[in-house]
């Protein structure tokens, strides 16, 4: 969600959030292909640091939550817990076919549902797995929504 304390952000805060988005990667039950593509996007070849993107280790430092994978019964409480810990304002990005709709795991045992059944999602990036270019495009579109 892109509001803090229920208020809209000012112009300076919006500029700073666009120029320095810190990314946290969360695997909610993915087969790991989307995680590999997220990792690829963070390598020097795509050089996301020139946009100010850094991978942070703690959800509290994050501005963008990159979630991959369909939400399973095992990861459901953990995804909710991490989402509650992220400091607002924060953008939630659902990466891959499994996070958007259940992908090929639709109707499988242990599946709770796609990500937007559990937490509010701002950006959907389709693909199985989406290329790093697609991930970057999606994140940029999400930032321009701010």
């Amino acid at each position: 969600m892109t509001v803090k304390d229920g208020k809209q952000l000012g112009k300076l805060s919006r500029w700073a959030l666009k120029k320095s988005p810190w990314v946290f990667h969360l695997n909610a039950g993915s087969c790991n292909n989307c995680d590999i593509e997220v990792l690829d996007a963070l390598t020097p070849k795509y050089d996301l640091e020139r946009f100010g993107v850094t991978l942070v280790g703690s959800p509290r430092h994050a501005d963008i939550l990159l979630v991959t994978g369909v939400v399973t019964m095992q990861t459901l409480p953990r995804v909710l817990h991490v989402y509650e810990q992220v400091a607002r304002p924060c953008l939630v990005v659902a990466i891959g076919a499994c996070a958007n709709s259940c992908g090929i795991f639709d109707g499988s045992y242990h599946v709770v549902g796609p990500l937007d059944k559990v937490i509010p999602v701002d950006v959907y990036i389709p693909g199985c797995p989406p290329k790093p270019e697609a991930i970057i495009d999606g994140v940029v579109k999400g930032l321009s929504k701010l």
Partner: protein
Amino acid sequence: MIDPVKTLQAKFPDDTGTVEQPSVRRAYVDITAARVKDIALFVFENLGARLVTMTAVETTRGMELLYHFSFDLAGIIVTLRAIATMPEPRIDSISCIIDGAEYIEREIADLFGVEFVGHPNAVRFLLADDWPQGVYPYRKEYRGKYPYRTEEELDEVREEMRRRWAK
């Protein structure tokens, strides 16, 4: 270079059944389920093989448990096929011989419902804590989808989570 299949058949003549060898590097040997520990000990220690993984398949003959051993020097992977009778399949656990089999056996127990006798830590592994007991997803009798969670169930999970993680 020893031939692992022939050595195994020589050592356990009563307990090894049919041998299928579809190619030079791959062999399937049927064994009796009661002697799986002795055979695994022999293959692991005396023949020096490496357990690659264990798999399970439910067939018309019963619950087949496949132990895949790799003989790296001889260049062959030998699969030992043991049948555990349905409806309640049970077999000896080999995790006292091979430590790495502990997690694999827990996984098979969760998904197929095979009881491994003598397993040191047979608790639920992959499936969630609130998955119902006695429902094994990989069995043929498990049909249909697990329904999506409704909003009320999701709210219940949120409440439970808040209660559990709050002080």
